[in-house]
Subunit: 302 residues, 2 copies
DNA sequence: ACCTGAACACCGTTCAAGT
DNA sequence: ACCTGAACACCGTTCAAGT
């Protein structure tokens, strides 16, 4: 249960870094241990049952602690064999693991190095900087989902299935939305899924122009929705409340607003704080589909 | 509640401001909904020109290096007068200024303190931590826009005008989307605009349930779109390229993909990298409107 | 070729101590 | 009551070394 929270007071609570974009100059910032183990209900995330990409090393061994195995004597240079020990792939996989396990704020160069039993400076042989690492990590979030399998003749059914699967996939990945929303991804995994989306939209009869624009609309809307959803979830966790309590409190706040200035907010306080985000998502996607349908219908007559 | 536990360890006198506990961890932050004046005339938001609250010392000298004028002797305690010198409002305004001028990554506690001619530790009397500061800053991004003025009988026209205005507003604010997309905002400025949106949607004839859900859909979709747009823009900047060059390069990359595996991506490379994001936004909003229209139409007959 | 220690210039946050 | 210096435990990144 998510109830155990309240930032740990012994340790400095470091604010949320708002991420790490700056390629230069000032670093990103700190990590916030404010977030606990990510207990909020929902299907188990981590490595679960999702389909993997093609020939990936899969979940890989969890990075052995210390090389050499002996005493604490760390020597310079590299240890023995002339196998690289590190590769870009290994670094990236460790990043994925770290992100899934401890969240985005725990993904630091030093932390990642520790995950690999190595020092931070070593990583710079495999990634240009942290920003590039996060870009790669963002694309990597799509490694485990292949929308191609949802392609079918009934375009409405296909789009609905894709949207549902994508939402579920992202929600199951810690901080995925926060990571993705913060950068512009055009990596290989993303493209595979765009391809599937375009297949369906063109199959529905949309023009090239409309298909491309509709795909963009679907993607940004879905990301926007899931980002908001994942943020709300972590706001609940940060507040140390169960979802229901958090929402009830919010509803209470809304209802307490001056009714002359916010009549609709007050009147709809209940609806606005409805807990079932899956229903809201279905609503959103249904509206989008209906909107696209209008375009399909307009094209058909000819 | 994360708020009340963790009493200050050493000093009993160091209790945090009473209102902080009352306001609760959520978005709104420490100030309750009353919110001080904050003229927010909207127009010039740039740097020096922002509207001020009531009796503020105005823009104040940009933090003179040394007080007293003489040697580098910074003394403890506060200097002379017993006016507070800092208030929550002043801190927040400085944050807004810093964000607008130097971007989100420049908003650090130390940097903000420097902006105010003060040391970082002083800020903790006015904000609980950086995360809360950013929450307040996120809501503050909506201080300068009032969607109420776009309310009108023609709901389609109203929604279109609102969406356009909101997009333009956010795009004009450095890193606004990145800031907002990363947190769940329920502050006073946000609520005012939600109110306007709900007014229009209910006016269109939607049920309470549908109006609330449609509002949520509009907001998350729009944020998703603008976040992607602002990210792309900053990706261009980070790449040090002109927009056209950046997109041409991207189009080239897409066209170079294996056509057997990504036939649609390759075929639509041009459309997918179309530079006119305003057109894409209009497309997205038109689809959403059409989707909502289907709902309105379904409700009307009865 | 690959990894490291050490350093640099930053972070957020706490707290006893000044005025 | 309000602000500060100093400290703590972190950051990202560079670079001259070691092996």
């Amino acid at each position: 249960m998510p109830t155990d929270r309240t930032p740990p007071r012994g340790t400095p609570a470091h604010g949320r870094p708002a991420d790490a974009a700056a390629a230069h100059g000032t670093g990103g910032g700190a990590r916030s241990d404010g977030t606990p183990a990510h207990g909020s209900g929902r299907p188990a995330h981590g490595s679960g049952t999702t389909a993997h990409g093609p020939g990936r090393p899969a979940d890989a061994p969890p990075a052995e602690g210390v090389p050499g195995g002996g005493a604490g004597a760390r020597r310079r240079g590299r240890p023995r064999k002339d196998e690289p020990a590190l590769t870009e792939r290994v670094v990236l996989d460790a990043g994925v693991r770290l992100l899934a396990r401890d969240g985005l704020d725990a993904v630091t160069m030093r932390g990642l190095a520790a995950e690999l039993g190595v020092r931070a400076a070593s990583l710079y042989r495999y990634v240009r900087n942290k920003d590039e690492l996060l870009d790669a990590l963002a694309d990597e979030q799509f490694a485990g989902i292949d929308l191609t399998r949802y392609v079918q003749d009934d375009w409405r059914a296909a789009l609905t299935a894709m949207a549902t699967a994508l939402r579920r996939h992202l929600l199951a990945r810690r901080d995925a939305a926060r990571l993705i929303a913060g950068r512009f991804t055009t990596g290989p995994h993303s493209l595979r899924n765009i391809e599937a989306l375009l297949t369906v939209l063109r199959g529905a009869g949309l023009s090239d122009h409309d298909a491309a624009f509709a795909a963009y609309t679907c993607v940004t809307s879905l990301f926007g929705f899931v980002a908001a959803e994942q943020n709300r979830l972590s706001a609940e966790v940060a507040a140390g409340m169960a979802p229901r309590e958090y929402l009830d409190r919010l509803a209470g706040r809304l209802r307490a607003m001056p009714a002359d200035r916010y009549p609709n907010v007050v009147a709809l306080a209940g609806e606005l704080t409805a807990p079932d985000l899956a229903a809201r998502f279905d609503f959103a996607m249904a509206r989008l589909l209906a909107g696209i349908d209008a375009l399909v219908a307009a094209g058909e007559p000819r």
